[in-house]
Amino acid sequence: MGTPRLQIRPSNPDFLDLPWDSRLDDWPTDRLVEMPSGVHRHPVKFVAYDEGVYAIKELPVRIAHQEYRVLRVMNGKSHRVAEAVGLVERDWLDHTDEGSGAVITRYVEHSFPYRRLVSGSGFGARRHQMMNALAGLLVELHMAGCFWGDCSLSNVLYRFDAGEIEAIMIDAETSRIYSELSDGQRGEDLEIMMENIAGEMGDIAAETGGDVEAADLTLGADIASRYHALWSELTEELILTRDDAYRIRQRIARINDLGFSVDDIEITPADGVSHVRMSARVGGRTFNSDALRQRTGIEASENQARIILSDLNYYLAKHGDVSATGKSVGTFKWITGQWEPLLAKITEVWPGSDPVQGYCDLLNHRARLAAARGSDVDTFEAFDSWVAEGFPGFDPEEV
């Protein structure tokens, strides 16, 4: 018996009311909340506070330290990593000679495990969304120097991100941070991912009574191909003449299109005096979400932010003044006249849902109506139709 040592990030509960004297599996159920989650090697439970829901994972103290360190570093570099808020050490509580530790993370709101997306023995129409999500996540982690060491479908939580799916790393027990990863390390991480995902797909097939031979064993390899394509686009070096400066802007725009921000552009002499070499130091995959937050204060995931920004820009164009002042006033009008009332209505008619995703679904529905009608459709009018049709979302086959 003893007192736990807790290391807690600010703006979170102190967690002192939790029964740290006992193992997680023995905690009274009235202290826990049930949340959708994947399969874990170590016990994981969820607790609710006014500040939100938190996941607590019990594991040997040495591994807890390792995981907490990686998550904290990565929290400063990516939005797609579970937010680590606390580390607990209970030296006295272990049947082995190693102390027990726990890592506390903020529960990823509106997330779900991959099993929810399984259709038959695979991901059906959502396959390409899974590929984008995992390839994008791995590229982002590798850009930040994070070797995962155990990328799999179940070490990730998923969240709808407008017409895409966002993958969030929740397990970093085997991860290490380096100043940068070698090609070999990235290749090794992809090998591990491919083997893990093949195992998971084989398991899905076996569970549904199918033959492992018939499982989608190549999903991981397809994710790796997408990863390589994205990595090449982001890291490609351009050789330019001095008259080609517009291509630098094109290059930055393309990187931004892929959702990544550009931290620096490096231009160095190449091939004598007539050519220069241009490379971009790519930052996090937060280009649109940063832009939306900056302009409106709204928090959204990357693809949601892209769609919401399009809606805002369309609103501004339609309603007039494109001067800087006019844009600020227009943005305020959009927030108070469109965004806030529609979000309130979505929360009212569809409690428990992710209202930001709901707004994106509504915009998608509005676009469909407009295409069918051949003319513009008011968002509030689209809302009524969207509710009447049972909140249709993005069709993965169409995206």
Binding site: E98, S152, Q185
Partner: protein, 422 residues
């Protein structure tokens, strides 16, 4: 059949040879320097050392995950400096081998080969042979939940061995397991290696793991400006324990660590005595023979090393006044099979140039370490002594260690750390 499987396996030769191997990162940081090491075909070699000593970097260089910036790496008879990882015929063993609950043991071991598009009959052959080696051939059609914990771990290992690599590379593969499972897995790995005889390179920071697993152990330490090489000593665990080449190896291997203090040698008749801060002990001939050139140090200050288990209470082994230390007990730790007695000797701790460097980095000097040195003796559990009591400890002076205080090298060491070690 087992014999055939192992024979086929042993057909692939994987001697791994590193010559003047080095790694400098683009920012100029040197991680690895001047490594000369040959890992014999079929050997189980452990790379051990503290954080930052380059052990994982060397393993990644063998695997092809890290570019080699100096020297050569040869696997078999092929220089592999520029050979991609996938073409090196070696397998990095994951830290986590998950077993999939709905697949049979056969499929759990086979799906990696299916993924790599191996023919069906080849997959069946490899899985069956691996199952036989692992003694799980009767469980191939069962689901993992029907297996014991140990059997499940063997299936997990089976996933690696069906690849039939010429060498296994393991980077702290047990670090994610709890302590109990780690011990179990250690013996499974040892057993597997003794059956397969596949070249294995194993990285750990845990000296107990290193001492229990390796045919040979390579001790590494971080490079510094004054010492641009990592490798300190390579040898069988017992050799490293009994004859550490320098103070770093002496201090790193063994738990509790070797006790170190200053002393000097005196001749008294036909005997040699070591004069320690509190005591004068007769040095046995074996210790003198173990340190060629020790005679040159007569009367000079040197560093004397004494393993905790080279001391025993006089009440247990019988008195021997010429080899007895008086120890005033500070703390006793009863561990069941042993008792540790903590005491101090009246001399400031041993300070090597490395320690001076570390102290300087933190703005301190040697005086900040105090003027006494802590010693630990591992004695019989029957001894009952309390804090403040004086206990007589008889020292096995045939197992004394002597080091040069200026260089930290073992006196008479055949292979100073800086030399090439093959």
């Amino acid at each position: 059949m087992l014999g055939r499987a192992v024979e086929r396996w042993k057909g692939s030769v994987a001697e791994i040879r590193m010559e003047d191997l080095g790694k400098i990162y683009p920012d100029g940081t040197r991680a690895v320097g001047d490594v000369n090491l040959t890992i014999e075909d079929g050997e189980f070699l452990v790379l051990v050392g503290p954080s930052g000593c380059g052990k994982s970097t060397i393993l990644r260089m063998i695997a092809g995950l890290e570019d080699i910036t100096e020297g050569t790496m040869t696997i078999g008879d092929r220089v592999v400096n520029d050979v991609p990882a996938k073409d090196r015929d070696i397998a990095m063993v994951f830290q986590n081998y998950a077993l999939y609950p709905h697949m049979t043991v056969f499929d759990n071991m086979a799906f990696g080969l299916k993924l790599r598009k191996f023919p069906k009959d080849e997959i069946a052959r490899r899985v069956n042979e691996a199952a036989e080696i692992l003694e799980i051939q009767d469980f191939l059609q069962r689901k993992p939940k029907a297996l014991s914990g140990g059997q499940r771990q063997r299936v997990a290992m089976g996933r690696a061995i069906v690849r039939e690599p010429a060498a296994f590379l393991m980077d702290e593969p047990l670090s994610n397991l709890d302590a109990k499972l780690r011990v179990q897995m250690r013996s499974e790995l040892e057993r597997l290696h003794s059956r397969l005889g596949t070249t294995t390179v194993y990285v750990t920071h845990d000296q107990v793991e290193a001492m229990t697993l390796g045919d040979r152990v390579a001790v590494l330490r971080p490079v510094s400006a004054a010492r641009p090489y990592n490798l300190q000593q390579v040898g069988p665990p017992s050799e490293l324990y009994a004859h550490p080449n320098n103070l770093f190896v002496a201090g790193f291997l063994g738990s509790p660590a070797m006790n170190l203090t200053y002393g000097h040698l005196e001749a008294e008749g036909d005997q040699v005595l070591v004069v320690l801060p509190n005591n004068r002990l007769k040095v046995e001939r074996e210790a003198i023979e173990d340190h060629p050139g020790l005679a040159d140090y007569m009367g000079k200050e040197l560093v004397v090393g004494l393993r905790p288990n080279a001391m025993e209470a006089a009440s247990v082994v019988g008195p021997d006044p010429q080899k007895t230390m008086q120890a005033q007990v500070e703390v006793t730790e009863m561990l069941g099979a042993d008792t540790y007695i903590h005491f101090t000797v009246n001399r400031a701790p041993v300070v090597t140039p490395d320690i001076e460097e570390l102290l300087a980095d933190t703005g301190r000097d040697a005086s900040s370490l105090g003027d006494t040195t802590n010693f630990i003796a591992r004695v019989s559990p029957d001894i009952r002594v309390s804090r403040g009591e004086t206990v007589e400890l008889v020292v096995d002076t045939s197992k004394l260690h002597f080091f040069d205080p200026a260089t930290g090298e073992r006196i008479g060491a055949e292979q100073p750390a800086a030399a090439a070690i093959v």
